[in-house]
Structures are given as structure tokens and as C-alpha cells.
């Protein structure tokens, strides 16, 4: 392995020295440090370069037509990697996605064409897990709601804020026990929560109680945390039945994708007191949030920021460059995604 690494480094250095830095197709905006790090190592074809006016697919086609066209691309969740995208850039052999999810990539189509896909690995997992715990504490202990009460002067005028609910001893049902779900579990155990989970298959490495479907999970949990990827199987995985099974003292936290929950049914359940509260970082039609939620005291609303810290930014930069360098030096990708793995 050491010898392979030396060979790889030489190969990369040779290309750079020959002025032939490998070309990378950059299809997402990046901050200055990220841009500099990419330019140091690669010949960057930047969709977002100042003055660049071509729309995305046209830009991709134009990039594919240059001499020594890009064999790798860096994308985010806004870029749909499907057959027409891959047709526009037949030189691409590697897609490096900086997004947390993979629902924007047709993995089967990539596999058919031998195009390798790298995801963001565990770069976001810690921050998302922290945010999930923060949202849950906020809902149960009414942090944002009682904060509003203080800021409008009601504490002095109206007295104590109504009581919240204790986190310790609650049964927390985690939907998806992957990188994020397992971190949430570990954190909540320290607060005295009992961890339940649903996943495609039970995990032998954990002692948490497994439930074969989300309905049964909800029936035996006080809290449901959505921590799974969005795909055909998990769209609206939290539906009206699941919310009913969770019950009137139950709380939902969503740091997955808005479409993991049937949003219309969630609003009804909250309106009718069929569940006790919700903490939501994601919505079905962002940035549209059902206005009815704005007047609810038992809901915490956030704007899809669970991944957005300075630290995950710099981790993402290092990780993305790491995947690109691995690809260009013929090494295995740091975080390859296979068509059958479907994230967790």
C-alpha cells in the first residue's frame, strides 16, 4: 500500500509539473478557501466563475468539449446526476458529491456507465446529530418558546412559563441507524434515554431494541427521530398511521429530508393534538413552511441548517479534495457509494 501511495503521488506530481493539472468540473458555489484549495491542485472549470453565464447543462457540455476534458466533477444536492447529465459529459468517470443525502443521484445509471460516486461520508454526521439533540431538547424543554416569552416581557407580566417534559427516561425511536442515527443514539443515552430503532436490517453491533417497521417503532416510543436517507422506500415513512401510533404525548424530530414525513398529515396531527410537538429542520417544499406552524408553541422550526458549521465546512473541503486526489491517483475513493448500498 505504501508503494502504491508513492506511485500515486508521483503520478499526480508529474501531471501538475507538466502543467497538466487534472481538470475538475465544479458545479457548486464554494467559498474562497475551498476555491483556492481546488485551484492549487486541479484545473477548475467553474460553473459559478464570475462572468460565466451558461446554464448548468450547457456548461457541462461545453466543458466536455475542451481538450483533456474533466474526468471528475464536484456537485451538490442541486445537481441532478441522471442519464441526460451523464450523456452531456461522457468524459466523467467520477462524481464527488458534497451533499449530505444522495437522492439527487441516479446510482444505478452511474453504475451502468462505470462512473464512480463519492459522497460526503461522515463529514456532516456529528453536526447533524448535535442539532437533532438540540431540537429535541428545545421541543421538550420549550427553549425557543419560553425564550419568546422572555423577549416579549411576559415573564414579568404573566409569571412562570408552563412546564415542559423530562428527556430522561424517554424511549427514543430512531429511524435509520447510520452515521447520524448512531451518533444521536450515543448522545441521548447519556441523557438517560432508552434507544429504539428501525433500519433496513437489525445491527448486531448495538444492543438497542430493533423494530421491523416504523409503525411498531412509533407505538413503543415517546420520541421519533427521522435520521434516514430519502429514497422510494422512505418517502412519507412517517405518515398518518405512524403519527397516530406515536400518540398524543409523542414528539417528532426531523433532520432527514422533509419528504420523509407526510407534512400535511403532520400539520393536522399537531393541530388536533394527536401528537405533542415537533422539531423540524427540513420541509417538503423548502423554503415554504406551512404557515399554520408559525403560531404553534409546541413546534420548533429551523431552516435546513443542521450541517452548517465552520467545522463541517473545513471538514468537507478536506474530504472532497481527498476523494478527488484518490480518484486522480488511481486509489480507491475515501467514501465510495455503491448502487446497492443506498446510504444506511
Amino acid at each position: 500500500v505504501a508503494l502504491l501511495a508513492v506511485v500515486a503521488t508521483l503520478k499526480l506530481a508529474t501531471m501538475a509539473a507538466a502543467g497538466g493539472k487534472p481538470a475538475v468540473l465544479l458545479l457548486r458555489p464554494v467559498d474562497a478557501p475551498f476555491a483556492a484549495a481546488l485551484r492549487d491542485r486541479f484545473r477548475v472549470l467553474d460553473l459559478y466563475a464570475p462572468g460565466q453565464a451558461l446554464p448548468a447543462l450547457a456548461f457541462v457540455a461545453a466543458a466536455a468539449a475542451v481538450p483533456e476534458p474533466p474526468r471528475a466533477t464536484v456537485i451538490w444536492g442541486g445537481v441532478r446526476v441522471d442519464a441526460s447529465f451523464l450523456d452531456a459529459a461522457p468524459s466523467l468517470r467520477c462524481v464527488v458529491s458534497t451533499a449530505a443525502g444522495l437522492d439527487h443521484i441516479d446510482l444505478a445509471e452511474c453504475a451502468r456507465r462505470g462512473v464512480a460516486v463519492a459522497n460526503s461520508g461522515e463529514v456532516y454526521s456529528t453536526d447533524v446529530a448535535d442539532y437533532a439533540v438540540g431540537l429535541l431538547l428545545d421541543v421538550l424543554r420549550r427553549v425557543s418558546a419560553s425564550e419568546r416569552y422572555v423577549r416579549r416581557g411576559s415573564w414579568a407580566a404573566q409569571g412562570d412559563y408552563p412546564l415542559g417534559s423530562k428527556l430522561g427516561g424517554k424511549r427514543v425511536g430512531i429511524i435509520g441507524l447510520g452515521n447520524i442515527g448512531s451518533r444521536i443514539a450515543k448522545r441521548l443515552e447519556a441523557f438517560g434515554c432508552i434507544i429504539h430503532y428501525n433500519s433496513r436490517k437489525p445491527k448486531d453491533s448495538v444492543s438497542y431494541k430493533y423494530f421491523p417497521n416504523v409503525h411498531e417503532l412509533a407505538a413503543e416510543s415517546d420520541v421519533l427521530v427521522v435520521a434516514c436517507a430519502l429514497n422510494k422506500a422512505t418517502r412519507h415513512i412517517v405518515n398518518k398511521d405512524v403519527l397516530e401510533a406515536l400518540g398524543k404525548d409523542g414528539v417528532v424530530v426531523n433532520i432527514g429530508r422533509g419528504a420523509n414525513i407526510d407534512e400535511a398529515e403532520l400539520v393536522i396531527a399537531l393541530r388536533e393534538g394527536k401528537i405533542a410537538g415537533a422539531g423540524l429542520d427540513v420541509f417538503e417544499h423548502e423554503p415554504k413552511v406551512p404557515a399554520e406552524l408559525f403560531s404553534m408553541e409546541n413546534v420548533v422550526l429551523s431552516r435546513h441548517v443542521a450541517v452548517l458549521t465552520e467545522e463541517s465546512r473545513s471538514d468537507l473541503r478536506a474530504h472532497t479534495i481527498g476523494n478527488l486526489e484518490a480518484f486522480f491517483s488511481g486509489q480507491p475513493l475515501l467514501t465510495p457509494v455503491h448502487a446497492d448500498s443506498l446510504a444506511q
Binding site: D130, G164, F191, V289, V305
Partner: protein, 346 residues
């Protein structure tokens, strides 16, 4: 004359025997005769149970200018006082209650009970430790995450209809892995440490004496503690030594990237200095559950986005308030029945 269990009367000559008196167990009598002054409507369940088990006096039944008269009128009956974090048995109240035997506080912090005077008068004091440890520790960590990740700010933003574009955000800073320092490593401090460790945080602390936790770094002074951490959590009790322990020097040491969390007592922190440190950006952020003049929180902080302000809710859950109330009731019962108190303050 009504016959009692202890003093049966003899039936008068040539008349029917008197019916037997209802038997009132001595225990119930001892409890019913314990006059308890409740200082504030702090908890409905507690009030209801005090009323049904003891002889309840509600301090707020008397008008503010009639309080002295109220106490005078009931001073021989009132043998117990139930106070809380905000309203408790100070010197003036104790002086007005010559029959006072016990102060049972609906709180763990008893900085507002005049302990020297209680000792002098032989008045026993109980509080509510342990039952609220988890909730207060949970809130401390919840405030730290809320302050660092700006959750209430996001909630305000969305509710105001300001989220118009998908890519609209500000970068915050990660909570996991931060260096967490705890001021006071008692029950609550330790519970905070355990939770923070699950986030990969390193733990340091200052306490009156070093504790047997080799993984936690002990600092002999608070300024050094603050200089070597990212998040300082105030979790000690308030007394003459700890008053304004978190002063300007400490806050400057914590610095423009530092976060101060207070779930102890407002007066542990020099509040005017805290306000200027935050306004002048010498301190990075704060999460506050307690204030020097509750229920007033400093209004100058209301416009800041790097502060989380909650109204002393550290133990405010249904589950914990019931447990606290039960502990107060059990202590009063034990006192009435001459049994050992459950949670006496030494």
C-alpha cells in the same frame, strides 16, 4: 363535650351511653395540625396536597400591605414554611414566625433561606436535591447547543417569514468536541460532565476542592478555567464566596469566541458586566436560565442573536415538579410525625 380517643367522657348517670367517637389516628391529627405557610403559588399539585394533608396558609391571600398583620394573626399556628428559589424564609419572615420549626424548600438552592438564623432558632431546613439533577443538566446542555447552533434564532427567523431562499443561512460552530468547563462539580455539575462527554467534549472544572475524577482537569482558579475552555457552565450554589464569581476578568478570559451558560443562580454572574461584555462582543455568546432580578431579564440582551434567555425553567418539567413536590410533602410529614427528615440541609 365531644369525646375524643384520648379522653373518653363518662356517661352521665341514668342516661344512654354516648356514641363512640370517630377514631382519628394520631398521625393524621399531627399532620392536620401542622400549619404550613406557602409563600407563592409555585405548583398546583403541591398546593392541593398541602391543603388536603396539612393546615395550609397561602401567603398571597393577604394583600401586600396586610402581610405583617396576616403573619401576626397566624403566627402561633404557622410551624412550617414552604418556599422556592425566588421566595423563601428570610430573616424578616423568620422573626415574624415564633412557632416556626421547619422550612421545606421547593428547590435545591437555598440561598434565600437565612441559614444562620435558622440554626440560631433551631429551625430545620429541607430542600429537593437529586430529583431535579437530570432536568437541570439537560437544560444546561440544551442551552449550550441552542447558543452555539443558534436554534432559537433560526426558529424566530422562520416564524417571521424571513426564509425566502433555500441557501439562506449563517454558519454556526460545532458543539461536539468543544472544551467544556464546569464551575461547581456537585451533583448537577457531574451530570453535565457525563452528558458533554457523550459529545466528545473534554471536561475541566473548578470546585472548592479537587474531586476524584482523573479525566476531568481541575483548575484552582476561575480565570484560568475560563481561559482554557470554549464553554463555561455555571453550576455551583450561591453563597457569600461565590457571589459574582463570574466577573469581568473571567468573562474576558472566556473571550469573544467563548460561551457562558448559567443554570445556577443569577448572582453568580456579574450581570451588568455580562451585558456589556456581550454588547461589546468581548464575550461570544450566552445561554441563561437565571438572572439577578428575576423575573426581569436584561432588556439590552433582547436584540442580540447570540444569547438564549429562558425564564428559570431548569427543573420545570411535569415529572420533576411532581417529584419535588412529593419530596417537600414527605419531609413535612416526617417532621409532623417525628420521623427522620428525608433531605435535611446539613
Amino acid at each position: 363535650p365531644v369525646a375524643t380517643a384520648e379522653q373518653p367522657t363518662h356517661p352521665p348517670h341514668n342516661s344512654q351511653p354516648l356514641p363512640l367517637p370517630p377514631s382519628v389516628p394520631p398521625a393524621a391529627m399531627a399532620m392536620e395540625s401542622l400549619g404550613v405557610l406557602l409563600l407563592h403559588p409555585m405548583n398546583a399539585y403541591l398546593e392541593q396536597e398541602l391543603d388536603s394533608r396539612f393546615r395550609l396558609f397561602r401567603f398571597w391571600d393577604s394583600p401586600p400591605d396586610g402581610r405583617a398583620e396576616f403573619l401576626r394573626a397566624n403566627s402561633s399556628a404557622i410551624r412550617a414554611v414552604v418556599g422556592n428559589a425566588g421566595y423563601n424564609a428570610d430573616a424578616a419572615l423568620i422573626d415574624a414566625l415564633p412557632s416556626l420549626e421547619i422550612v421545606a424548600s421547593f428547590s435545591v438552592g437555598i440561598d434565600r433561606v437565612d441559614l444562620p438564623k435558622c440554626r440560631e432558632r433551631g429551625i430545620r431546613v429541607t430542600n429537593t436535591p437529586d430529583v431535579l439533577t437530570d432536568d437541570v443538566a439537560d437544560l444546561a446542555v440544551g442551552l449550550a447547543i441552542a447558543a452555539l447552533r443558534k436554534i432559537p434564532q433560526a426558529d424566530r427567523y422562520v416564524r417571521a417569514g424571513l426564509w425566502k431562499a433555500k441557501g439562506d443561512y449563517t454558519l454556526t460552530t460545532r458543539f461536539s468536541g468543544k472544551r467544556v468547563a464546569i464551575l461547581g462539580l456537585g451533583r448537577i455539575g457531574l451530570a453535565i460532565a457525563k452528558r458533554a462527554e457523550a459529545f466528545g467534549c473534554s471536561i475541566s472544572y473548578h470546585s472548592r476542592s479537587e474531586k476524584p475524577f482523573p479525566n476531568y482537569k481541575f483548575f484552582t482558579n476561575v480565570v484560568d478555567l475560563a481561559a482554557n475552555c470554549d464553554v463555561l457552565i455555571v453550576a455551583c450554589s450561591l453563597n457569600a464566596e461565590t457571589h459574582h464569581m463570574v466577573n469581568r476578568k473571567v468573562m474576558d478570559a472566556l473571550g469573544p469566541d467563548g460561551v457562558l451558560i448559567n443554570i445556577g443562580r443569577g448572582a453568580l454572574v456579574d450581570e451588568p458586566e455580562l451585558v456589556s461584555a456581550l454588547l461589546e462582543k468581548r464575550l461570544g455568546a450566552a445561554g441563561l436560565d437565571v438572572f439577578e432580578h428575576e423575573p426581569f431579564a436584561p432588556e439590552q440582551l433582547f436584540s442580540l442573536d447570540n444569547v438564549v434567555l429562558v425564564p428559570h425553567v431548569g427543573s420545570d418539567t411535569e415529572e420533576t415538579c411532581k417529584a419535588m413536590a412529593d419530596l417537600v410533602l414527605k419531609n413535612l410529614e416526617a417532621h409532623a410525625l417525628n420521623k427522620p427528615l428525608l433531605t435535611p440541609v446539613p
